[in-house]
């Protein structure tokens, strides 16, 4: 036995790594690096594309900015008098998002607090799975629920002339953004060190006092980031709002009015707008507008999250 070992060891020492192995390793390194950079490339690529398609029209001065932002008259295919007033579309997106957040923020944060502080371990596991399932429902299914079920319910219970409206879209969007708010909010609460909780309880605080006097202020930034990501989800959602809001160009004065959102307009009209036409370019300008809104929201969320991490370390 010892003899054998003696004869094998020198052979192993001599053995070098084959050249192909190092090459493969290098190649894999490159691939992985590309994967890492690709996200950045895609974002810039998309931004450049959207900008190129729309900005020419904007720069050529063919689009009156005051009409675009100040008029509700959206008649892109009119035979006699084409008008590109996007005010109603902007108001549509804003109203639906606002209502969705009014509903989703209390529910989402409440659920996050319950999950992280009050419920037992088994309940938490079950709830988390269900909430993840909620996030996995395709948006067209949500839209279908809005179009059929919620429409009839809203007509019956609110005596509304039509059930496809801000309320309908807002409810659907709220259900869609709650899972995001819950999971990020819960993470933020979990990130608060247990010593905070122990100190609060040791000083005689009730659990509820601990939550709203200690935990909420400590996790404030993470919760805000959760809300902002929820807003980003709501602003960008297309298919569900296209089906649930009625797709109707008007300035909403009540939650029972139908509206049309920026995203739904692009989805419904881009297919028939000939490439390069005025209509096509205006739709891309709407794309630029949406891109800027979501970019601003995500950037804010990111800066806030970064603030938390910086403080934690």
């Amino acid at each position: 036995m010892a003899d054998e070992a003696m004869t094998i060891l020198p052979v192993r020492e001599k053995r070098e790594r084959p050249r192909w192995e190092t090459r493969v390793e290098k190649a894999i390194e490159v691939v992985i690096r590309l994967c890492g950079i690709s996200a950045v490339l895609f974002v810039f690529g998309i931004f450049f594309f959207v900008l190129r398609e729309g900005a020419g029209f904007l720069l050529a001065g063919k689009l009156s900015i005051s009409q675009f932002l100040g008029s509700i008259e959206w008649y892109p295919t009119s035979q006699s008098h084409v008008r590109y007033g996007a005010l109603a579309l902007i108001a549509g997106t804003a109203s639906v998002t606002l209502l969705a957040m009014v509903i989703a923020v209390p529910f989402g944060l409440g659920a996050a607090i319950y999950l992280s502080e009050f419920c037992g371990r088994r309940t938490r596991e079950v709830l988390k799975i269900v909430i993840e399932l909620l996030a996995a429902i395709p948006s067209v299914v949500w839209g279908f629920i809005g179009l059929t079920l919620l429409n009839s319910l809203i007509i019956r219970f609110f005596d509304a002339p039509i059930g496809l409206n801000v309320l309908n879209g807002g409810l659907i969007l709220a259900l869609m953004s709650v899972p995001i708010i819950v999971s990020i909010g819960e993470d933020a609460l979990k990130a608060v060190p247990d010593t905070y909780r122990e100190a609060a309880l040791a000083l005689g605080a009730t659990r509820w006092q601990m939550v709203y006097r200690v935990l909420l202020p400590a996790a404030k930034q993470g919760l805000l980031a959760a809300v902002l990501l929820g807003i980003g989800r709501a602003v960008g959602e297309t298919m569900a709002v296209l089906m649930a809001t009625g797709h109707s160009v008007r300035l909403p004065v009540s939650p029972l009015d139908s509206v049309r959102t920026l995203t739904a307009t692009i989805a419904a009209e881009l297919g028939e707008a000939p490439v390069g036409s005025d209509h096509y370019q205006v739709l891309f300008i709407i794309g630029i507008l949406l891109f800027s809104i979501t970019f601003a929201v995500n950037l804010t969320a990111d800066l806030i999250v970064r603030g938390i991490r910086g403080r934690a370390s």
Binding site: P161, H247, E272
Partner: protein, 271 residues
């Protein structure tokens, strides 16, 4: 029109199995764009090509698309079954749907609709990629006029009927073939004082029902023999029977000859 094309494609598969026909939907504008881009052999459309589309086709394909009339579509005006209204005139429709039209409430037409306490008329329309939208705008509102802001713009013909069936305040337009028991179709008169005719096959073929339009199929040239055979079959009794079965109106026999001839005549070119 996608359902009709679908059943033609299925049925034709049993007649000539070696020719396979794939159908995809998405509004008249979509089909015409596909024809121009060369991704489709036939574009089904419920409207005529617009001059700029003909120009684009000539530029890209080198020749104008060929027009075929394969049937008729009667657009019905739908209301909720609880609505007491039974008939209206084309003029009233224009006042309801056009941009500065004065009719906005059911009370303006002297009807009160049970279940519609707000009395506000909910105008159900189509998205602007639909041929029905363009036909209704040009034929009912008049060329150059636009829809009222605030119409509910839906994606499909069936969606319009379903929404009207669930919404007491609503009025909508869609192909008469989409009618269900949850909605009522109004009889329509050309002008006040004339007889209002309900949308039926006979009334459409006799030209009495005022809101009907031809269904078109566009091809690039007509040289391909398998396309020619397909069109011959569409104009046969079997093909026209499917038109009827899908809720559209077949070509009257008196017009059959001209329709077939029309199949090889080039599209009209506006100067």
């Amino acid at each position: 029109m996608v359902n009709l094309a679908q059943s033609w494609a299925e049925e034709y598969g049993t007649v000539e199995p070696e020719t396979s026909i794939e159908v995809s939907g998405g509004g008249s504008g979509t089909g015409i764009a596909a024809l121009i881009n060369g991704t489709a052999d036939i574009a089904n459309s419920s409207r005529r090509l617009e001059p700029r589309e003909i120009a684009t086709a000539e530029r890209v394909l080198g020749r104008a698309p060929v027009l075929h009339v394969v049937g008729y579509d009667a657009l019905a005006i739908f209301v909720h079954p609880s609505n007491p209204l039974r008939e209206m005139t084309l003029d009233q429709l224009g006042q309801i749907y056009s941009e500065k039209g004065p009719v906005t409430h059911w009370g303006d037409l002297w009807v009160s609709v049970p279940g519609c306490s707000s009395d506000r008329m909910i105008l159900v329309s189509r998205q602007s990629n639909s041929g029905t939208y363009h036909y209704f705008r040009d034929a009912i509102l008049g060329r150059g006029r636009d829809f009222k802001l605030g119409t509910i713009d839906l994606h499909g013909s069936k969606d319009v009927v379903e929404l009207v069936g669930r919404t007491p305040c609503a009025i909508g337009y869609s192909g008469m073939g989409y009618a269900t028991s949850h909605v009522r179709m109004l009889a329509v008169a050309r002008r006040s004082g004339e007889t209002a005719y309900p949308p039926t096959v006979d009334h459409t073929q006799q030209g009495l029902y005022p809101i009907s339009r031809p269904l078109y199929m566009y091809t690039v040239g007509d040289g391909k023999p398998h396309l020619k055979r397909f069109f011959d079959w569409i104009y046969s009794e079997k093909g026209q029977h499917l038109v009827l079965a899908n809720g559209y109106v077949p070509i009257p026999e008196s017009e059959m000859q001209t329709a077939s001839v029309g199949a090889v005549a080039p599209a009209q070119q506006p100067e």
